[in-house]
Homo-oligomer: 243 residues x 2
DNA sequence: TGCAGAAATTGGTTGGACCATTGAACCACT
DNA sequence: AGTGGTTCAATGGTCCAACCAATTTCTGCA
């Protein structure tokens, strides 16, 4: 028996606006990139003030669901559904080196688990797709004699997708966007990423062999090399933007 | 060398408001739960319209940094700092059983890594604290003849804290809040959580022995039992709120 | 046809007004 | 003293009607 009494909701205008907006998007089958109605039109149709519409849209903008361009309109940035759950995270003090290392520890956790899940669940098509990305990456490595962050990232994303759980890609992509200036930047280390190169192939081998524990172990090794490179980089240039 | 030049911001009123607000919070050394100035006062002091202040606060409210109570005021919900980074995640279709399982896969990843890191970094004090929580949990298990989600949660939080990376606790806590109705609810399974009980002690042993790989392995086993219980529960009552 | 400038569109901001809720002060009654 | 009701000021929530700034579209001239 629970004595939990939820507080009654007398008014929730902006929530109602968002709910109506979800319905509209479904009705019109709008996808990412498409434009949704003007604030003024929404206000008129929903019989609320434009201010209320704006508060609702501000919420969605803060959640990254929508992008507002002055003079142009408001555009969807992601798919919306009636049963979305929001999990906003704020990393305090994430700008310095220790913040980067902390996100990398999260990435290590997720990368290992994604690889393991991938080994269990990936079908023939997914495995082929991953191998394709791997080939592209290795080719780029050979021709340009060094890691290419673009192709490397594509490979990892293919693994996340094949894990069957979109949360992996969402979380790691969010961190990737926050720190792309670091992830892409060699930090003064000449052969940044070189050490991680061979593990891409070994991860793929374990996935293709449907060996989750092996895939997990190889993924852990890969991230360990990245961490080492970052530590070297930090030692090199003392992280110029440290506060 | 990066050719990235951020576009100059001719207008960024609400961002400026938030920046000023961060400064104010620092200046006054405000902590969570404390009240911050009235919207009207902020508008007057910052020389912006009250609507602009409201948009800024709406953003913070959406990020869970602040709580607004009509008739009372606006209160801090979390610590704010000038170098915060925001990472809002939205889980599409997270209300049904598969959504819960997806978050549990994330938890498995983080739980394993947190335990491993904890085994490496936990000092004597942290280990003692974890053991204290463990004793409390085992005592509760004995007297009430069953898992107690409250004490169980306390134990895990102690592990996250001792991992030395606050992100683990942040992310898992956010998921815990989203799904607390599931995590706390036995889902029709009588002995829910029973199977996971012994692994708490084994995880602690591996942590106390500073054995990261062992701790990781035990944590994986624990989550596996929880997943099994959930699957049984889902089979039992068909997830009444499935859409 | 091509393009510069005008006009319409759209999000951003302002100021002012009123409503709904809260909480404290006050008061009457027990 | 304490319980309950009333009043009233403070505060967030909503609304309106403008105007500003960036963008897009249209128009008319060369």
């Amino acid at each position: 028996m629970t004595d939990f009494l939820p507080p009654i909701q007398t008014t929730a205008r902006d929530d109602a606006v968002l709910k109506a907006l979800v319905g509209f998007v479904r009705q019109e089958a709008l996808g990412p990139g498409e434009k949704l109605p003007t604030e003024r039109i929404l206000a008129e149709r929903l019989k609320v003030s434009r201010n209320t519409v704006r508060e609702a849209l501000t919420r969605w903008e803060g959640l990254g669901l929508v992008e507002r361009r002055q003079g142009s309109g408001t555009y969807l940035k992601a798919a919306v559904s009636p049963d979305m759950l929001h999990m906003p995270l704020t990393l305090a003090g994430g700008n310095d080196f220790s913040g980067l290392m902390r996100t990398l520890e999260i990435r290590r956790a997720l990368e290992a688990e994604a690889a393991a899940l991938c080994a269990v669940r990936a079908g023939k098509a997914e495995i082929a797709e991953i191998e394709r990305k791997l080939d592209i990456m290795e080719e780029a490595f050979r021709t340009r004699a060094g890691m290419s962050s673009e192709e490397d990232w594509e490979f990892h994303q293919a693994v996340y997708r094949a894990s069957g759980n979109p949360l992996f890609e969402q979380i790691i992509s969010a961190m990737h966007e926050l720190f792309h200036r670091f992830w892409e930047h060699p930090l003064g280390v000449r052969d940044f990423g070189h050490a991680s190169f061979p593990y891409h192939r070994t991860i793929f081998d374990r996935i293709a062999a449907h060996d989750p524990d092996g895939a997990r172990a190889e993924a852990l090794k890969l991230i360990a090399t990245v961490e080492n490179d970052l530590k070297r980089g930090a030692a090199n240039l003392k992280m110029s933007d440290r506060k």
